[in-house]
């Protein structure tokens, strides 16, 4: 019986991978093609394994600033022209930077694949990074920081929570960068970043859609093949020192309601075959918050009514360490302390009594359905491949991860809750809401309970 199940698993894995093709060019660029002919469209994504975690003290935000500068022209493509050519080809494009990587993408009609590849390959090695454009763009990035973080109370809380939870690991710095670093960043900092990390041997190219893999490989050789491999610096391995006791932080910002984040240091996937805790933690997040009747919403929002909203999250794949976190807004009349106690009680119930087979089955059903639903988004499928490759695993691990998730037992969920959700691993961050103006306070505005 067991043997049979494994065979089925292998078969499923084989089928799922059947239309994914992979080749590494002589300059080190890994090219992955996912054929999907449902619609006559393609997506190109190039993923550089350089994110904010690779930044040094004083230049936080440079990975993201360079992402912006990548649209500012090359030796042969004038400033603004990259976007104009993609737009004129009917395309959509953008880019994103994370702790672990920086990625650029275009979505186009299939006839425009070559254009996109030519343009993307060009800016891999020919970027024209002028002082003048940098001076303007750094102001845009500062506006982005104000909008995303400084004026958003929850984002601000998350930023300060991360800075508190991590003491050594560069995840302590925000992806967008500290404002003071942005103010002092120079075009030379961006140039150094570009020359250090932007090379084919530090990138993964993912192309998905109505394409023929052989043709894509030929085009990749033609355009990306010209780019010389770079000499990548030795990457430092960061190991966050063990936390020695609970940490607490308060952040004051304009808001009406308090907000609570509880984040536990947690393991991330390294060996997809032998690790088990990351899978158990993913299932635990599903049991707590996988649907509207999952434990947290049912107990704390609907029954006890101590929260107006609550969520649990855990990302099991990243280059660095990760956290299992809970985020909640207390209901009117409930103090943050009471809410924290209520959440702890929910976690304790799992440590004490475990989870039911019914809950596991429900999480499995959702995972299975999600695998089908993801086929409706070409972009997401390419994202999944690029992301897993960029954090040091392989797209071939995806079916294994799926199989392992489906095999998590109730005992494992209980054990991982006991082992990981410990106070010594915990950072508690609380938003202390401030009135918008002194006037409002004098008028007897709402008094906040803590």
């Amino acid at each position: 019986m067991r043997f049979y199940a494994i065979c089925l698993g292998l078969l499923a894995a084989f089928t799922a991978q059947a239309e994914i093709f992979e080749q590494t060019l002589s300059n080190g660029l890994k090219v992955i093609v996912k054929e999907d002919r449902r619609a006559p469209v393609i997506v190109q994504q190039i993923w550089y394994r350089a994110g904010s975690m690779d930044e040094k003290t004083g230049v936080t935000g440079v990975a993201h600033v360079l992402e912006h500068m990548m649209f500012k022209g090359t030796k042969t493509v004038p400033v603004g022209e990259f976007s104009r050519r993609i737009a004129a080809a009917g395309g959509r494009e953008n880019a994103f930077t994370s702790y672990d990587y920086t990625a650029y993408f275009q979505q186009l009609h299939k006839s425009k694949l070559e254009l996109a590849m030519k343009l993307e390959a060009d800016r891999m090695h020919n970027l024209n990074l002028s002082d003048q454009e940098f001076a303007k763009e750094i102001r845009v990035v500062m506006e982005e920081r104000r909008w995303r973080t400084d004026d958003d109370a929850h984002a601000l809380l998350d930023e300060r929570m991360m800075a508190m939870a991590y003491q050594e690991h560069p995840y302590r710095n925000p992806i967008v960068g500290w404002m003071n670093d942005l103010k002092n960043l120079t075009a030379d900092d961006a140039r150094l970043w570009y020359h250090t990390w932007y090379s084919p041997n530090n990138a993964t190219l993912v192309i998905a859609g109505d394409v023929d893999a052989k043709q894509v490989f030929a085009l990749a050789r033609k355009y990306y093949g010209r780019v010389h491999a770079g000499k990548l610096p030795v990457r430092k391995h960061y190991e966050e020192p063990a936390q020695l006791g609970i940490k607490r932080i308060e952040v004051k910002a304009p808001a009406e309601l308090p907000y609570l984040v509880m984040a536990y240091h947690a393991p991330t996937l390294r060996d997809v075959e032998s690790d088990w805790q990351p899978y158990a933690l993913s299932v635990l997040a599903g049991v707590l918050d996988g649907n509207d009747s999952a434990r947290l919403n049912k107990s704390l929002v609907r029954e006890q009514q101590v929260a107006t909203s609550i969520g649990a999250s855990y990302a099991n794949t990243s280059r660095g360490p990760t956290m299992f976190s809970l985020e909640a807004t207390p209901a009117a009349g409930t103090s943050v302390d009471k809410l924290e106690a209520a959440i702890r009680e929910q976690l304790q119930m799992i440590v004490r009594d475990g989870v039911s087979e019914e809950e596991l089955k429900r999480v499995r059903a959702q995972v299975t359905a999600a695998e089908v639903y993801k086929l409706d988004s070409l972009f997401y499928q390419a994202m999944q491949i690029g992301q897993i490759e960029s954090i040091g695993l392989s797209h071939q691990d995806l079916p294994v991860i799926l199989k392992k998730l489906q095999a998590v037992t109730a005992e494992q969920v209980q054990a991982v809750a006991r082992d990981i959700l410990r106070d010594d691993q915990l950072t508690v961050a609380v938003l202390d809401p401030q009135p918008l103006s002194a006037d409002k306070l004098q008028q007897g505005g709402h008094v906040h309970a803590h």
Binding site: A39, V41, A87, S293, A331, A332, D376
Partner: protein, 437 residues
């Protein structure tokens, strides 16, 4: 050179329009509901959306918030199942219920696997959510408290404050300008929800969109199953007309944030406006076209004054807003305002160039396949076509309609619609209070 480029653009347009658009089947269910269906067996899944003219603009002026709560409580308890049963049973089959709600439209969506066991359970639940909602006192009380808390929170956010003031400045007392207040929510009673449901969720008003792995015969049965027991309905009054702005206004609302949120606009167009495509293409050039629009170029690319700056027409049952928006640090608000206003004035007074129009068409026509490359996107088109009574050939005609737009029609339409001297401006941010007229 110009001629050559132009014929190249035409060739592109032709090449792309050879691409097949989804074949939309349409019929009226015995219940009276209008059904729009695309049969597609590529993926073993089914998407459903059921829409009603029951958005916030259909609220009674004295009972704001009822439409939103009615929509919000649909899946929180039905005959024979409480809210937890609903969520659990859906999760057990991997199905997802979603919803969307705006001033015009109240929709409930379902995504399910098309395998029989899963699909039957999921559709049964959706059927009951639509046709047998309970609106219990207990759930209503809790949801009112949650809504009040989130409204109070929103009242501290510059995005919300600016949208609220903008709605009022552009639409005055028209329901498109309403914002629900805490006092409105406090007044809402269960009887209000029952009455609103009875009068606004009628079978004859329902638009059922189905996309995916079922046959026509199945689709017919599903559409009937989802609507046969809906209320009679039929007494939904049409929305009042939207009045134009006679003069400009500028309102500054202080806020401690480091950036000011700026909104500028006027009442725009209805979904069935004959100028729809002309204005859509024109606005692509002004502020709709991502990194290549005039506003983006002037405000961000040339001056580094904002991360995001945009303009759009929000076509609705009645004319929705034409809206320009940006965020910039408080110290440079006046300078940014000047740049935006000059850009709009130049656009309206001097019009667009043939090169701009060509680029706009290339993007919109060339990018057409991206609009219909997933079941989810097609489902939304089905709902919009049904809800706004657009022709069944809407997608087939899309590229030709864009191709027909010319510079003269854009310039003429913008001059008729947008008067730079009669626009509403709202600025939330900075400490300077007061209102200029």
């Amino acid at each position: 050179m110009r001629t050559r480029l132009f014929s190249f653009a035409l060739l592109c347009a032709f090449a792309v329009s050879a691409f097949a658009t989804p074949q939309i089947q349409h019929w009226q269910a015995p219940s009276g509901a209008q059904v729009y269906f695309v049969e597609d067996h590529n993926l073993p899944m089914l998407d459903v959306a059921v829409s009603f003219p029951a958005g916030s603009a259909y609220d009674d002026a004295a009972k704001k918030g009822v439409a939103g709560l009615t929509h919000g409580l649909l899946d929180l308890g039905v005959q024979g199942m409480n809210e937890d049963d609903i969520a659990r049973k859906l999760a057990d089959v991997g199905a997802r219920i979603g919803s969307s709600f705006d001033a015009d439209r109240s929709s409930v969506t379902l995504r399910t696997l098309s395998s029989a066991a899963e699909q039957v359970v999921a559709l049964d639940i959706l059927s009951r959510v639509l046709q047998q909602p309970l609106f219990t006192e207990e759930v209503l009380g809790r949801e009112k408290s949650r809504l009040i808390a989130s409204l109070r929170e929103a009242e501290t956010k510059p995005e919300f404050l600016s949208e609220k003031a903008f709605g009022k400045a552009v639409f005055g007392e028209h329901p498109y300008g309403w914002q629900t207040e805490v006092v409105d929510i406090e007044k809402v009673q269960r009887a209000d929800l029952l009455e609103f449901y009875r009068s606004h969720y009628g079978a004859r008003e329902a638009v059922v969109a189905l996309m995916g792995d079922v046959s026509r015969q199945q689709a017919e049965a599903i559409a009937q199953q989802l609507t046969a027991q809906l209320p009679q309905g039929g007494d939904v009054a049409p929305l009042p007309a939207v009045a134009g702005l006679g003069k400009s206004s500028e309102q500054r609302i202080p806020h401690p944030a480091s950036q000011s949120h700026i909104l500028i606009g006027v009442p725009g167009i209805a979904r069935n406006d004959p100028d729809y495509f002309t204005l859509y293409v024109g606005n692509y050039i002004l502020g709709g076209g991502g990194f290549v629009s005039r506003l983006m170029n002037e405000v961000r690319e040339k001056r580094g004054m904002a991360y995001s700056v945009y303009s759009y027409f929000m076509p609705m049952q009645q004319p929705g807003a034409f809206q320009i928006g940006l965020q910039t640090k408080n110290e440079q608000v006046d300078e940014a305002l000047q740049v935006v206003r000059k850009t709009v004035r130049d656009f309206v007074e001097k019009g667009v160039t043939t090169a701009e129009l060509r680029a706009a068409k290339q993007n919109i026509i060339g990018g057409f396949p991206l609009r219909i490359d997933s079941n989810r996107k097609i489902l939304e088109y089905l709902s919009v076509i049904g809800f706004y009574h657009l022709p069944l050939t809407y997608l087939d005609d899309f590229q030709a309609r864009v191709e027909q737009v010319n510079t003269r029609s854009i310039n003429e339409a913008f001059r008729r619609r947008i008067n730079p001297d009669a626009m509403a401006t709202v600025i939330v941010g900075g400490q300077a209070a007061g209102e200029k007229k």
